[in-house]
């Protein structure tokens, strides 16, 4: 078996509460991403998926208490010095964020911002840098890259901005690209283009992709493996075909039932009744049980472990594990 590129072990992220306590918003999360692999993390907003991704680049605000281990190419990312983590950012792991409208600095030219990514790590001569910026822009399918490089972000359309953002993330040929809801802010046809772009990049350069999304349809079209998170915990993970065709966790099942139809604009998942729990005071037992249609006695008493339901497929549910009684 290949060494994992990214290996998250027992990750816990907690924020201080106004009352003075600590609220864990990510609790005991573990998963791997193999080199060249495309892995999706799905979950409602607040499930902790974005925070998990950010922890991989030490991008959490200082008041967040982070514990556990995030290994990248054998090094513990959480233990890296500021200088080392800066060196890792963009080259080892790069990130694409949700909102292309706000992800670019509005007062700097797009080409300048992509060039900056190159400058930080390699400081190429001006001409080489400009050539590489043009190359990156055409790579992500932006026409007239020379003119576009001199434009400002507000002169780009949303989809173009997301492409440019992806180009910026790819500037230093990272081994892992974390894409945090890269398509949420875009309309459906553009979404599709971006997803195809990502797959193309993955195939062309072998960059592994960790795709964070609430949209299980996106996962279906792109990922090989999927991790389902709920209320700070991984509730199910496994190969996409298995998880999507035979979901083990009631939450995953609910997610699948609420998949928006392709001919309708994407929207937040609202089909599941009830609200996710307050991380400061999680419910007893399984965290999903208050909203679970199949909840039973043991679910409220004891939290199920994340255990194999099939080879390479795990779920955190007494029912799925056959231990409901």
């Amino acid at each position: 078996m290949t060494e994992p590129l990214l290996s998250v072990r027992g990750l816990r992220i907690a924020f201080p509460t106004p009352a003075g306590g600590q609220a864990p918003v990510v609790d005991g999360v573990s998963f791997d991403v193999l080199p060249g692999e495309i892995v999706g993390i799905v979950g409602e907003s607040g499930s902790g998926k974005s925070l998990t991704a950010r922890a991989a680049l030490q991008l959490l605000p200082p008041r967040a208490a982070v514990s556990g281990e995030i290994g990248f190419e054998g090094r513990d990312v959480l233990a890296l010095s500021p200088r080392d983590i800066r060196a890792l950012r963009g080259t080892g792991i790069a990130m694409v964020f949700q909102d292309p409208m706000t992800s670019f600095n509005p007062v700097l030219r797009v080409g300048e911002q992509i060039g900056e990514a190159l400058d930080i790590h390699r400081a190429p001569p001006k001409q080489a840098r400009e050539a590489r910026v043009r190359e990156l822009l055409s790579l992500v399918g932006i026409p007239e890259p020379e003119r576009r490089a001199r434009a400002y972000p507000h002169e780009y359309s949303g989809g173009m901005r997301q492409r440019a953002l992806t180009a910026m993330a790819m500037a230093n040929a990272p081994r892992l690209l974390i894409a945090d809801e890269p398509t949420t802010a875009l309309d459906v046809t553009v979404q599709d283009q971006i997803l195809r772009l990502m797959r193309g990049l993955n195939e062309a350069s072998g960059t592994a992709i960790l795709l964070i999304t609430h949209n299980i349809a996106v996962v279906a079209s792109l990922c090989r493996r999927v991790i389902v998170m709920y209320a700070g915990r991984v509730v199910e993970d496994g190969p996409v075909e298995q998880v999507l065709t035979a979901p083990s966790h009631p939450y995953t099942q609910a997610l699948l039932q609420s998949v928006p139809r392709i001919d309708q604009p994407a929207g937040r998942l609202t089909a599941i009744a009830g609200q996710p729990p307050d991380p400061a005071s999680p419910p007893p037992g399984c965290r999903f049980q208050p909203r679970c249609t199949q909840a039973m006695g043991r679910c409220t008493a004891e939290e199920p472990p994340l255990d194999a339901v099939a080879p390479g497929h795990r779920a955190r549910c007494w029912l799925a594990l056959g231990q409901a009684a």
Binding site: L57, L59, P82, R86, A87, L88, R89, G90, T91, A94, M95, F97, D99, T102, S103, F104, N105, P106, V107, L108, Q113, E116, A117, I120, H121, Y152, H154, L165, M168, A169, A171
Partner: protein, 319 residues
Amino acid sequence: MLKLLLRRLAMSLPLVFAVVTLTFFLVRLAPGDPAAILAGEAPSPEFLAEIRAEYGLDQPQWRQFLAYLTKAATGDFGTSIYLGRPVFSVIWERFPATVVLTIASMVLASILGTALGVLAARHAGNRLDTVISAGSLLGYSIPGFWIGQLLVILFAVELDWLPASGMTTARVTYTGFAHVLDVGRHLILPAVTLAIFLLTMIARFTRTAMIEALNQDFILVATAKGVSPRRLLWHHAFRNAVVTTVTVIGLEFGAVLSGTVVVEIVFGWPGLGRVFYDAINRRDFPLLTGAFIFSSVVVIAANTVSDLVCAALDPRIRR
């Protein structure tokens, strides 16, 4: 950019028009005969008649207004009653001293205010932030003339480090670089006094703008790219916040120019601000209104410049 400049200029003209109109009606709102107001102390009937004719006060109001506009447009603000000279030449010869003072204090305020604002934003919520915020609050809560007088007492009279008043030493005449140094020494206290208000405003607004900028997504994106904290602060966050800073400077320029009145009095600085004081004390209304219109035009011009600088700094404003 040229288009923007033209548009800004086109917007400034109504402003100037508004100022002149305001002045025109103020003089007529004032109790008493405008001719008597314009003629000053115990005028002879002939002089009154002369004034009436000169300002067209025997004409219908709208004609008077037109005449006033025409005069103002050509820089003719009448004749100073007390000094017996054209108002514009009185203003013009005093203007350079005020320019020196204003620019010195604006440079000082911009540099220090920005630095303090950025520092406070970087340490938002910490003790340093509290100290800076409290200091800037005090800075604009104390009347400038009182600060100025205290500075004179402390640094000129008691400690004897700096001159108490004037723009150059009267005792000896310096030339060349020594002259520049001499003006510099005289400039320190008034420039600092004048800078305090603007400095605190800049610090406050820069702090707010920096905190806002630092919370923007693009900062996170840039961090994820591997950008260093220093570069994040200055190249990314500050490049955005500086627009606010420049806007504040533009908006507060009027307050700074008003502040020169006080500072020039307290420090005996021979500038335009003191023309106001002299004109008030002597009720030299042509001089007062002329200085007011002139200052307003300078303020409007400064605002236009500040807008243009903002546009240069922020591509989103160019349009």
